[in-house]
Amino acid sequence: MVEFWDDFFSYLASVGYMKLVRIFWFYFLFEFFRYIFLETLALFSWKFKQRVNRKALQEARKLMWDESPLVSIIVPGKNEGKHIFKLAQSLREQTYKNYELIIIDDGSDDATPEICKNLERNGMITLFLRNDVRGGKASAANLGLRFAKGKYIIHLDADCSYDRDAIENIIIPFYFDQRIGAVGGNVMVRNYKESLCTTLQAIEYTDTISVGRIVTSHLGIYRVISGAFGAFRSDVMQRIGGWDIGPGLDGDITVKIRKLGYKIHFEPLAVCLTSVPNTFRKLIKQRLRWDKSLIRFRLRKHRDVFLPNQSFKLGNFVSFAENVTYNLVLNIFWYGYLFDMIFNYSSQLKYIIIMNFFLYTLNNYFKFILFSPFRERKHAPIHYFLIYIPLMVFYFGYLLRLVRSVAYLSEIFFKASYKDPWNPAKTSRHAKEMGL
């Protein structure tokens, strides 16, 4: 064992800078550049812009409160009855009071209708709508949208909970910039202590959502408003006709709004807590569904974004290109990198794997600690996560990459997402026929 480490360090000493870059080209070329260099730059630029806009932001807040528009909160779901009471009660804690709460029950087969009818009678729910036959999440959300009266629509998940000022904060950006068509909330993990799986996801969320989305939003390439917490302008929603068939409808609707020329904004101050899958099995199932939507929506349904026609918009192109590059293309490149290492450096492979591990772990610590001042809830217990960070190499670098590969392959060759029981068969069949 000792011998191995001796060898390892002497190997390390013998490798020069150029060789290091040659061996870890994948890391330096793509990941270091994008996730450390560019993100750091972007974060400082964002902070600076916030400083500059401080007055305008205050003005927007004042404008919002002066108008106090009616906000329609719509919550579609199936068998969510047990969460609805807690949700309705917690919404009463919100600083923003001028909202209507519309619950849409998509063919529940449990006590959900009874619970909700009761809450509707007690005035805790403004409107309870039910489809006796399940129609899928998009149609349920659209039903809520059809009867919503608010100037803004907020889409929530029943099993999430929200900071007291979350509604207020997610509406304010609309008053800051008229070109903002939708605002995404900051989703954090509530059950991060539940299992190893949830802890790792919490680390992932703090990186890709709380920091990553500040960056993409700042650069104008923010793509997906999570279904757990998003706000939309009603008039814009009318124009695009609401949600289309999922899965991946959260990403799809943002693209449709972008195509109309509106900006998509990420609001770090609008905090929502969600419970993430607590086992790897459930996590993999969830991610397979999410990842398939990249192919389905970027490369099939909205491929026109890449075409240089009259509706071409550079921002949309970059957003798509970044997404496709950093997920699909690099996913393929990574396998190329793997082969490169196996064929060209087979004798040093054991050292390279260990080096690789140290490199990424260092990278992860660097990001986690140095980016924390930019995150909402700077004082969150980061020490809790510190010992888990080395595991992120396996979680993010290997597990999620593998899941992504499987999802892409099955969607490209088999259009698997149309068979997903997440949607009722009657709607999936139509979506497939029409190439949606």
Partner: protein, 426 residues
Amino acid sequence: MNYTLHILKKIRGHLNPELYLKPIFLLKGNEKHDPLVNNLTDGVIYSLDQVKLVIPVMEQIYLKVADLSFTRSLSFEAQMIDKILNMMYSRDKKELEPIPYFNSGIGYSFPEASINFGYMDEWQVLDILDIAEKEGLFASEYLDRIYLCNNCSGGFLSYREVCPHCASTNASSEDLIHHFPCAFIGPISDFKNEIDNQLNCPKCNKMLRHIGVDYDKPSIIYTCGKCNSKFQDISVRAKCMMCTKDAEVQYLIPRDVKMYRMTKKGETSAQTGYISTSKDIEEFIGTVKLETFKTMIKYEIERLKQTDYNSNIAGIYLKNAGELYSMIGASSQRALLRDLVEIVRRNIRSSDLITFQNVNIVLVSLNEIPTKVADNILKEIINIISRLIKQNFKNFDVDIRYSVHQLNTRLSHELQIQQVTKDFVD
């Protein structure tokens, strides 16, 4: 209301037993009679020649009436119960069965009971029969449930579907349509146009073709014509046609409709006259409820096991109280019972208890004194009571008895209380 029923109500609804117990026969033409009339008459003859045929029936009724003793009851409830028992006993009727009846204020008529009430008050029959059942005079069997107005207890309710927000009945419903290809969902009017009968999707402009294939109707939605609100869960309200109050159905008063069967105790009560319900005598100042009395005796027995005191229970029995009560009105009865309690109270210690077993029997506990002394106290009480009644009621000779028992630690309290009352049965 038809004339026959009107006459019948006058007779059967009267408070005087001489009148309300009279045998009544219908002289029938062709007309069909209402179920209440059939239930409250004693037979039908088709011509006056047939009168002799009903004589045995009348004799039978009078024979049964002779068993009854008529007393004045302490309360309205007791009086009604007494009346129902008398009617049933004299007709040898064991069961009081509710009949669905459109002229009834609650939808069901209990003939012998309901005849005493007007349309608006008929619900009181249910209360009275409940009391009679609790007193052990009737046993019951569940038949149906009715809902009564929470304002006037009327049973003539009109149920309507109304807007949950403003309670207007002016609500109309529409199908919701889900267009599968684009996931749009909205009321059917969104899909209609003014030119033809086709349905077109407002989101994707496609024509709807075939239900179940490219669209379906997952539910309906209501729109209120008054307040314009939308809702799926329409409320049901009941409007009372007696007092016009419009109430949500969950606030209506549910009542069980039961079939009642007269018990042995009911028959005995008809014979002796039913004077008071337990509620009527429970409320006399200076007395405790029978249940409380029993419990206290039980504890006293437990206590005696550990000490060598001597305690007693006694009973005072007004044997011909019924006779006396029938002479006087309800308020005088109450006054008499109040005096009686006061006399007993003055002669016993404040820690001792008094209770009414029924309107004829008063039970008294006499703790921590020798039985001999207790006996003397009772003798004194009886003397005073006899004198009082003699003075107040024209030399009425009251038959009053008493018995005193030493509490025995080896016997149950229930048994010992029974023994006291047993002494009075000849």
